[in-house]
């Protein structure tokens, strides 16, 4: 039994008769029935925490960590003094915080349970793995369903497992960095994640190892009234390089869904981490994510972040440049359609001399969609030779679309260079007329204009992802004119 919502698009199917009867109106809008052996029930209390810790077999320090985090979560107010009041519509009692079928992640695709396999088949995971990935992890609700790393990469000493396996098998590395980049009390949602986290990736790349192909994780929400709280920790040791990519989808439910991840990156001396996100949440998902990296001397942390869909996304990837000549970069694309609010941005904290940060943000507002940019650049007085460049460009598709920019640049001392540029443009009626005069439909004309607007950023994406991104934009545009 599967949901069969209003349909406009038929997806290609991999097996003849399994899902060909389903038609969907967006890429990820389908569900399979829940088969959860473990369900923490609705709401979040001390008991929920113990339930999760029991099911996962947490060591004591993690159980304690969770309990402390719960207190912080309960004590912290919603940040509505600066953020949208829509946060008040999140009813924490109406979510389930842990769901799983109790199975261990499979190393072989054939062993993955049928429903889960069909889900990821439809989302194209196995083909992508064969084609260009060094490793894949696929998370279904709270736990990883599939996890695989190519032998050649594993032989180099690269660790790529889910967070549970990471903390059990590699406690000495895990414990050293876990919760150090983003402390529990960073914000209300990082505290919530710290209390109930499950899944997410743990990656360690040994000194000097450059992982040639990207590692990928795929996050899928299947169940209604559920919160997904993955926790990812990536450590690139001295001189190591790694690219990690994540994709996210969820079906459209009547009720709200919560996704609140915490992602911590650690780039040791001379290391390089690139973290690429393409998310396509359905329009009922509250997506409240904390992402931050530390870049040590001569290291580089780069966030490439693409946000499509969701009801509300709040996400400001950050880099703390802790060592000399460290570099931080955030490249982000946000697309807000009617009923959606993309509140995104970047945080750049310069904590050493000669550090460089770059923020390029492009947002697109369609219909009554709202895009907000919040940026923070901090350069303290005692440093010298720090550079920041911030560019944020907004594109409005309709007169009702809305965009806001809130840059906060605090630069002290006079031995630094910062520049900030912002622009707002609109797809004009004459531009659409010109394109349509050449035979493009209105949706095609919009789509081409939007793709043009973000074209220079899309070049930063791996090819497969830029193709996917273009397809997602086409879908959004088809639905927005009529």
């Amino acid at each position: 039994m599967v949901s069969a919502p209003d349909s406009t698009l038929e997806l290609p199917v991999t097996e003849a008769n399994d899902i060909s009867d389903i038609r969907v109106d967006s890429v990820g809008d389908f569900t399979f029935p829940e088969r959860n052996k473990f369900d923490s029930g609705f709401g979040i209390t001390e008991k929920t925490i113990d339930y999760i810790a029991d099911v996962k077999g947490d060591p004591d320090w993690i159980r304690e960590f969770r309990h402390k985090a719960l207190k912080v979560f309960q004590e912290k107010p919603m940040p509505t003094h600066w953020a949208t009041k829509d946060l008040e519509n999140i009813k924490f009692d109406e979510f389930r915080y842990y769901l799983s079928d109790g199975q261990k992640p499979k190393r072989s695709w054939d062993e993955v349970p049928e429903d889960v396999k069909k889900t990821f088949d439809r989302l194209g995971i196995p083909e992508q793995e064969r084609k260009f990935l060094a490793g894949v992890e696929a998370q279904y609700d709270s736990e990883a369903a599939y996890s695989n790393i190519k032998a050649a990469v594993e032989e180099q000493g690269v660790i790529f497992v889910n967070s549970t396996e990471g903390l059990h098998k590699y406690p000495e590395i895990f414990k050293k960095w876990f919760g150090k980049v983003i402390p529990t009390g960073d914000n209300k949602f990082s505290a919530l994640n710290s209390a109930v986290f499950s899944g997410g990736s743990f990656i360690y790349v040994p000194p000097g190892v450059k992982v040639k192909h990207p590692l990928q994780a795929y996050f899928r929400i299947n169940s209604e009234q559920f919160g997904q709280f993955e926790r990812t920790l990536i450590i690139a040791d001295e001189g190591a390089e790694v690219m990690y990519m994540e994709g996210c989808t969820a079906p459209k439910f009547e009720t709200a869904t919560l996704h609140s991840a915490v992602v911590e990156l650690v780039a040791m001396k001379g290391a390089k981490i690139q973290y690429v996100t393409v998310q396509n949440w359905s329009s009922n998902v509250f997506n409240l994510v904390t992402k931050r990296g530390i870049a040590h001397e001569d290291a580089e942390v780069r966030w490439i972040d693409c946000n499509i869909g969701s009801r509300l996304t709040m996400k400001y990837p950050g880099v703390i440049m802790k060592g000399r000549r460290a570099r931080g970069e955030v490249i982000s694309i946000a697309l807000a359609n009617s009923g959606q609010h993309q509140d995104t941005g970047a945080k750049m904290v310069h904590a050493a001399d000669d550090t460089t940060s770059n923020v390029i943000s492009k947002s697109i507002s369609i219909g009554e969609g709202r895009a907000t940019y919040r940026g923070l650049v901090h350069i303290p007085k005692h440093l010298k030779g720090c550079k920041n460049n911030t560019e944020c460009d907004a594109l409005l598709i309709n007169p009702n679309s809305r965009t806001d920019t809130y840059p906060a640049i605090s630069v002290r001392g006079n031995q630094h260079a910062t520049q900030h540029e912002a622009s707002v443009s609109q797809v004009s009626a004459d531009q659409i007329f010109y394109l349509m005069q050449r035979g493009l439909t209105e949706a095609e004309a919009m789509s081409l204009s939007v793709n043009g607007f973000i074209n220079d950023l899309v070049k930063e994406f791996p090819m497969e992802y830029s193709v996917e991104l273009k397809r997602l934009i086409d879908l959004e545009m088809e639905g927005s004119v009529g």
């Binding site: 531009q431 007329f433 349509m436 005069q437 035979g439 493009l440 439909t441 095609e444 081409l448 204009s449």
Partner: protein, 252 residues
């Protein structure tokens, strides 16, 4: 077979601009429309293509017998109507090649794509005819182009899309003599028995290079005089003031 405009009336809110315009363009013919500023020349081109700023209050436009006034802008284009814009729009981030591919693909059944090798072969051949550097394929549509480059780019699109009827709206404006020659050469290369042209211009100069079969004078929203190409020379010499409406001209 023809592009037939019958008693066309069009307005912007509060002001009628086209006041009963009649014109028949047959495949193989090149018609020129000349007229003073504000006579309705550019309005005519936009109304024919379906620009939303103008409301057609009465009349018909038949493209090979089919009334196109109820058709959307893009459908008119795919039916075979092309407008070379007086002020071509810039499309930031979209390369010329991708734009042309998208426009050609829009003419194919859904799901089909164009043959890339054939496409580039044709594109390069056309660009050579217009003396356009190959680098134009990867540059964003019209962005940072000089006035002359933009006009050449319009003709390139015309050559790639091969419409049944092409309207050139003041294609000569902003062109120096060399560019004018190149653009005209491109247009002349596209003249054929199967294609009709409507060349809108303020000046006679363009018509030295694109020789029209028929010349019309547009004044106050109506065609007031029709003649051969010698009419354009007369207009050049005497201006527009002497032309008064000849009732029979509409039937030409």
């Amino acid at each position: 077979m023809s592009l037939e405009i019958k008693d066309l009336h069009a307005q912007i809110p509060g002001r009628e601009i086209l006041k009963g315009l009649n014109l028949i363009i047959k495949p193989g013919e090149v018609h020129a429309i000349m007229g003073p500023n504000g006579s309705g020349k550019s309005t005519l081109s936009k109304v024919l293509c379906g620009h939303e700023d103008y409301e057609v209050t009465s009349g018909e436009v038949l493209l090979d017998g089919e009334n196109i006034l109820d058709m959307a802008v893009d459908a008119r284009s795919r039916a075979g109507l092309f407008l070379a814009f007086q002020y071509p729009h810039e499309i930031p981030g979209v390369s010329n090649a991708n734009f042309l591919r998208a426009a050609l693909k829009a003419r194919l059944p859904k799901g089909e794509d164009i043959d890339a090798v054939k496409f580039y072969k044709q594109l390069y051949a056309r660009m050579d005819q217009l003396e356009m550097d190959r680098s134009f394929t990867s540059r964003s549509v019209n962005e940072g182009f000089s006035g002359g480059e933009k006009k050449r780019n319009e003709i390139l699109q015309l050559m790639m899309l091969e419409p049944k009827y092409a309207i050139l709206d003041e294609t000569d404006s902003g062109l120096d003599i060399d560019a004018l020659k190149i653009v005209s050469r491109g247009v002349n290369a596209m003249r054929s028995e199967n294609r009709g042209f409507l060349v809108i211009t303020h000046y006679q100069r363009l018509l030295n290079y694109i020789q029209p079969d028929i010349v019309h004078v547009l004044k106050d929203g109506r065609i007031v005089k029709t003649g051969g190409k010698e009419l354009s020379l007369e207009l050049e010499e005497r201006g527009y003031d002497w032309v008064t409406e000849e009732p029979l001209a509409a039937a030409a």
